[in-house]
Amino acid sequence: MHLAYPAVLSALLFCTGLYGVLARRNAILVLMSVELMLNAVNLNLVAFDVWLSRTAEETLHSGQALTLFTIAIAAAEIGIGLAIVLAVHRNRGTADIDKLRDTAEGHESRPVDGLDSGTSTAEPTGRTEKAEATA
């Protein structure tokens, strides 16, 4: 098999995930796009490992081992990421990453306040934290 097939597919999948990370607004959709990028890297690792296991005399099968490690780390990442997203959703009432700009510099609180008064589900803890952040 030509090595360009898996390499090109991997590059295209990576860029699809890149677009998703940059363009999506829901935090869980961003996590899905991160999974796409990790899978593109996995495909590259497997393809180059299969190629090297034929050409080199003796290999450590490092590509497949690293793929397994990447899969395990991705599982851990998705667990932690979802826990963070759920905690943010419980505190703020939203999983929209465009509205979570408390630590953003440069944007003084005009758009934040407009969004915050628009969302009726913002809880008092979030509001006090936001007051502390803007004070």
Binding site: M1, H2, L3, Y5, P6, A7, V8, L9, L12, L13, F14, C15, T16, G17, Y19, G20, L22, A23, R24, N26, I28, L29, L31, M32, E35, L36, N39, N42, L43, V46, A47, V50, W51, S53, R54, T55, L60, H61, S62, Q64, A65, T67, L68, F69, I71, A72, A74, A75, E77, I78, G79, I80, L82, A83, I84, V85, L86, H89, R90, T125
Partner: protein, 212 residues
């Protein structure tokens, strides 16, 4: 390290290459739908198609153990976890018009530029490189297990520690948020008593579990 000595050709693709190309088209199309659809649950379901297609690609590359691990972990657990997250954050069923943010066109520009650059470089670099898929499988369970437990034992064990840390971290994250928020529906009857509010809040889901 090129293997261009064999009678390979661009214009005579083998059966494996044709299968890889077709499955790759399906995978890439599903990935595109995943990042562009406006229905959040559909995005998770198209992600299943993408990950399953990648498992088929691993099988075509004779890495069967990776393929089954991909099916087990990604399709089996990660997508289910993502669906749970979508449901728990009250994702709207149906179209949500604000799924994409305002910088969509900048993101599209960056992604297309990166894709063009990467594809050009990769095709130019590996134009005369071929994978030899004949012979014994390069990624059978025996080969993968032998290399994993002979050469990669220490990272493997460290990875188990990492998974344990992630498990504990996820539990701590979700429990701490539950104790802090003191949202009205959970702790409304626990406001009369001062100190044992946390065990009481812990008891209520257990009772609900028992009632089910």
């Amino acid at each position: 390290m090129t293997l261009a000595q064999a009678p390979h050709g661009f214009l005579s693709p083998t059966g494996v290459e044709i299968a890889f190309l077709l499955v790759g088209l399906v995978t890439f199309g599903a990935a595109l739908v995943t990042v562009t659809t406006r229905q959040l649950v559909h995005a998770a379901l198209w992600l299943v198609v993408t990950l399953g297609g990648l498992a088929v690609e691993y099988l075509l590359l004779t890495a069967e153990f990776i393929a089954w691990v991909q099916v087990l972990i990604y399709v089996g657990s990660v997508v289910v976890l993502l669906l749970f997250g979508l449901m728990l954050t009250r994702a709207p069923i149906g179209r949500s018009p604000d799924a994409d943010s305002g910088n969509r066109w900048a993101a599209l520009t960056v992604a297309v530029a990166a894709a063009a650059a990467l594809v050009w470089v990769v095709v130019d670099a590996f134009r005369t490189t071929w994978i030899d898929l004949d012979g014994p499988a390069a990624g059978s369970t025996k080969v993968t297990g032998a290399s994993l437990f002979q050469n990669w034992v220490l990272p493997f064990e460290a990875l188990s520690v990492l998974l344990l840390a992630a498990l504990v971290g996820a539990i701590v994250l979700s429990r701490k948020a539950k104790a802090e928020t003191s949202s009205p529906p959970v702790n409304s009857q626990a406001t009369t008593e001062s100190s044992p509010s946390v065990p009481d809040a812990r008891k209520i889901p257990a009772e609900q579990e028992g009632a089910r």
